[in-house]
Amino acid sequence: MSEARPTRDIASQLARIESEPYYQPVRDEVALFESAHRRRLPVLLKGPTGCGKTRFVEYMAWRLKRPLVTVACHDDLTTADLVGRYLIVGNETVWVDGPLAAAVRAGALCYLDEIVEARKDTTVVIHPLADNRRMLAIDKRGELLAAPGDFMLVISYNPGYQSVLKEIKPSTRQRFVALEFDYPEAAVEAGIVAREGGVDADTARRLVKLGELTRNLKGAGLDEGASTRLLVHAAQLIADGVAPAAACTAAIARALSDDPEMTGTLDDLVGAVFD
């Protein structure tokens, strides 16, 4: 009966990533990810914001030649938002797959970014997908969708948030192979900043130094130090002709804190690295 209903096809519209995204491997994460994909294991990426988790997934989707479906999770994300829903077209109902269902049908990589932000009752729909069943139940259609071999579930979360509400349940986390990410070593990070931001090696080195100084303030007034992404933003402003100190103030100091005392300290640190 459900087959008779019209369905809007999303899965076939999912495109592959054509050109290689820039990603600088830090350790053995590429090999581990490929291995997990071969063995059909889901992957959990842990790490602070802006350290390259999303870029890594894009890079792996390109490498594995699979389409990528990314869902930024938020606290109102419902099961229907992931699995799909009926829409009314004329006098008929049309089933539209949600991103997760579409990804399963297409054998894509499905990346649920910041999974802890989603409601607890929503995250359980991924459980049968994340163990050996590899199934997605679409209860409204009475359909049980078996994931093809190429489908892979990737979730990410940032363990740096101290809030007790932002915890990932053990029953969820214990289904995943966990890859830990951190800001890369200074030399590697400088390479990334130079390449992505389009600045010379010395400027990149100074930006990374500044990043290191702000990371020292984690827990002493800052929740997080400057991420690689913020450093790249500052570098891009510098490459566009903004004075380095002004670029760092705007892209790093003001982005990290609203507290006037803290931004004062951050300005001091910017001034220590750039004159």
């Binding site: 109102d76 419902t78 099961t79 229907a80 938002d81 829903r85 009926y86 009314i88 006098n91 109902t93 809030s163 007790v164 509400l165 070593e185 200074a186 030399a187 100074r206 130094k209 100084l213 702000t214 020292n216 303030l217 002493a220 007034g221 100190a245 005392e261 803290m262 004062g264 300290t265 001091d268 640190l269 910017v270 001034g271 220590a272 690295v273 750039f274 004159d275």
Partner: protein, 691 residues
């Protein structure tokens, strides 16, 4: 009215103000001194004498005695600041310090004249401390000291800097001085395993001069080292100090390189000491206190070596194999990150050991070999007590280190008394385990009513129909739209239903008066009220905590946790509710400050502090009673408001209407005339406040 007061009148006024003193000194001489002043000045002197005498009569005496001299030297605002500085010294360091501070009128006046351009450490402290934390990554304390120097654990800076003409430059000077002192700890001024600085300096009989030269030469070397890593900071230092003095030109040539080491400084120091010249003064180079630095460093090295060693021996396969030489790990320092490999397998250190290892390398350049030897068969042992800052408790003398210190507002001074109140969290002994059950039994009907009322308030999901989008179809809307379409009317486009969460994000803190005056039926009423409240809040699901407060003077402010936020309403909590008893006094400000801090740490969006009390703030002695206590409490409530905490007071003091509006604001309190009604009313009040 404007007539000057004569000596005998002044003497009488002084006797009244200083009456509390046990000293039998006559006020006659002081009165003679004050007689020469104008009436306005006389009144000012008498007023501040009275304020000071409230804290300590001897300080009052001194203020009165020195007032003629101080008034001659200082303007009215300056005079007030002079007294406050003396009182501040009394609060922090006691009577002797206050006397010394007050007597130094000339120094105080001179500092005040420079003040517009001066930078004060008190204003810069927080920002500088974070700056140092940013630079070093390991906590480096910041404290006031007469001479700028560091013992490698703490950077000491003078209370005020007025070297330059503008406040901004003096602020920069603070930063430069602090950074250079940090650089001493970062770039090996105090030596390492190979370089024994102490031995090299010990050969000079004039040690003070050698240390002065050492500090100046190190400033040159360290600035060059900083320039490589933090060019902006080095450039700012260079702008501040101007070109190097002639006497340091040669030093700049030889030491002004990023790769110069302390051994080169020491070699050059020998040449400088051979001459007769004194080192030129540098504005931003602090002194070097080698003994203090080496002492603090030795303690830290021992502590950190032990931490790393214990962590290593707790690791798999290391501690177990005693004396097995093959198990010694290889340490690989890579860009500040530690890779420790054991039998070819990389192992990770726990975060505290990571930090200790990083700190060790900062001090020594490498991990000392002794931390790589097994700590022996023993298990992980706690650190000795001298390394644990909070473990001190001297039971014999009854002296306890306070768990927290809080400022208190002194309305007469219009200033805070820093760290004035000593706060302790004291555990309540378990009370009658059946108490709560008995109360519940007696009030079964009321509790059932309260629970039902509060369950209705509970935040639950609601289904919203007729939405433009949503996860479900709204069948009613759909049928209507089909009908409309068939009839030729424009169909409704909002055909979906959506589930929304109406979440109560609220944390409530109940602060229960346990002062002596609650003894008897007030205490019973409070306890019964808490039983009702707990029932109501359990039905509602809000986060809540209950703390009792009482105390005896500022040095013993006690807080009794009844239920913390992370505890459930279990037998232990019920026992503690039963154990709530009348204790001593009601010093409210400090209790509000402490509980606000606990409440502000809660993740809830709305925070509510509810006080159950039977009267105005009060404490042993006259000081806190009356205006002082009310003003301090009011200030504490304002601070709480600033931290996003809303406060409400439920009191059974019939005179409450006299002072409560000033404390809580006109609509933020309830006076209950009969304590017996408290239990039934409190839950209702809470419901009104939060729905």
């Amino acid at each position: 009215m404007n007539r000057k007061l004569f000596s005998d009148e002044l003497e009488q006024r002084l006797d009244e103000l200083l009456f509390a003193s046990h000293s039998h000194r006559s006020a006659k001489n002081i009165a003679d001194g004050l007689e020469k002043l104008s009436r306005e000045e006389q009144e000012r002197a008498l007023h501040w004498t009275g304020v000071a005498a409230q804290s300590y009569a001897e300080v009052g005496y001194l203020v009165a005695a020195l007032a003629p001299k101080a008034l001659a030297r200082l303007d009215p605002a300056g005079f007030e600041a002079w007294v406050l500085a003396g009182l501040d010294a009394y609060d922090r360091h006691g009577g002797q310090a206050a006397m010394a501070q007050l007597r130094a009128i000339e120094a105080f006046a001179a500092a005040r004249e420079r003040a517009p351009a001066a930078a004060r450490l008190a204003d810069q402290e927080a920002r500088l401390a974070r700056f140092l934390q940013g630079l070093s990554g390991r906590p480096l304390g910041l404290a006031e000291g007469s001479v700028a120097h560091t013992d490698t654990e703490t950077v000491f800076l003078p209370a005020q800097l007025a070297e330059y003409a503008t406040a901004e430059d003096n602020r920069r000077l603070y930063k430069a001085t602090a950074a250079l002192l940090w650089a001493q700890t970062r770039y090996g001024t105090f030596g390492c395993a190979e370089v024994d600085v102490e031995a090299r300096l010990a050969r000079w009989p004039d040690r003070a001069r050698a240390l002065r030269w050492f500090a100046a030469l190190e400033a040159v070397r360290l600035e060059a080292a900083l320039a490589a890593e933090l060019p902006g900071l080095a450039a700012e230092m260079a702008r501040l100090r101007g070109p190097w003095p002639e006497a340091l030109r040669e030093a700049e040539r030889r030491l002004g390189r990023a790769d110069a080491a302390v051994s080169q400084t020491l070699t050059f120091l020998d040449e400088c000491m051979a001459g007769a010249a004194e080192p030129p003064p540098l504005p931003h180079a602090g002194a070097i206190d080698l003994a203090a630095a080496l002492g603090a460093r030795a303690t830290r090295l021992a502590r950190e070596t032990e931490v790393v060693r214990k962590a290593l021996s707790a690791l798999k396969g290391f501690g177990g194999r005693k004396g097995a030489g093959a198990a010694s790990p290889a340490v690989n320092l890579d860009g500040g990150k530690f890779q420790i490999s054991l039998d070819g397998e990389a192992v990770a250190l726990p975060p505290d050991a990571q930090a200790a290892a990083r700190s060790l390398v900062q001090d020594l350049g490498a991990l000392p070999p002794e931390c790589l030897t097994p700590a022996g068969p023993g298990a992980w042992q706690p650190l000795p007590p001298e390394w644990n800052e909070h473990a001190e408790e001297d039971a014999l003398t009854g002296h306890r280190e306070p768990q927290h210190r809080y400022d208190e507002w002194d309305w007469r001074r219009r200033a805070y008394r820093r760290g004035w109140c000593h706060l302790f969290e004291v555990a309540l002994p378990p009370g009658d385990p059946d108490y709560v059950a008995k109360v519940s039994l007696r009030n079964t009907a009321a509790i059932r009513r309260i629970r039902r009322r509060f369950e209705m308030l509970r935040g639950e999901d609601r289904l919203l129909g007729r939405q433009p989008e949503g996860e479900e179809l709204d069948l009613d809307a759909l049928v209507e739209a089909a009908g409309d379409r068939a009839a030729g009317a424009e169909p409704e486009a909002r055909l979906y239903s959506r589930r929304i969460r109406s979440e109560r994000s609220l944390a409530a803190m109940f602060m229960v008066d346990m002062s002596g005056s609650t003894k008897g039926w007030v205490n019973d009423a409070e306890r019964e009220a808490l039983v009702m409240l707990c029932e109501a809040l359990e039905a509602l699901g809000d986060a809540y905590a209950i703390y009792g407060f009482s105390g005896w003077t500022r040095t013993r402010c006690d807080i009794y946790p009844v239920k913390r936020f992370d505890e459930t309403y279990d037998a232990a909590v019920r026992g503690r509710i039963a154990a709530i008893a009348a204790k001593d006094y009601t010093r409210m400000g400090v209790a509000i400050r402490h509980l606000t801090r606990l409440l502000a740490a809660q993740p809830a969006r709305h925070k509510l502090l509810v006080t159950l009390s039977d009267g105005r703030p009060d404490d042993f002695g006259d000081e806190y009673r009356g205006h002082y206590g009310i003003e301090d409490t009011r200030r504490a409530l304002q601070e709480a408001h600033g931290r996003g905490v809303r406060s409400y007071c439920v009191t059974i003091d019939r005179h409450g209407a006299d002072y409560l509006p000033r404390l809580y604001g006109p609509a933020h309190y309830t006076v209950i005339d009969d304590a017996g009604k408290l239990p039934l009313k409190v839950a209702d009040i809470y419901r009104r406040l939060t729905s």
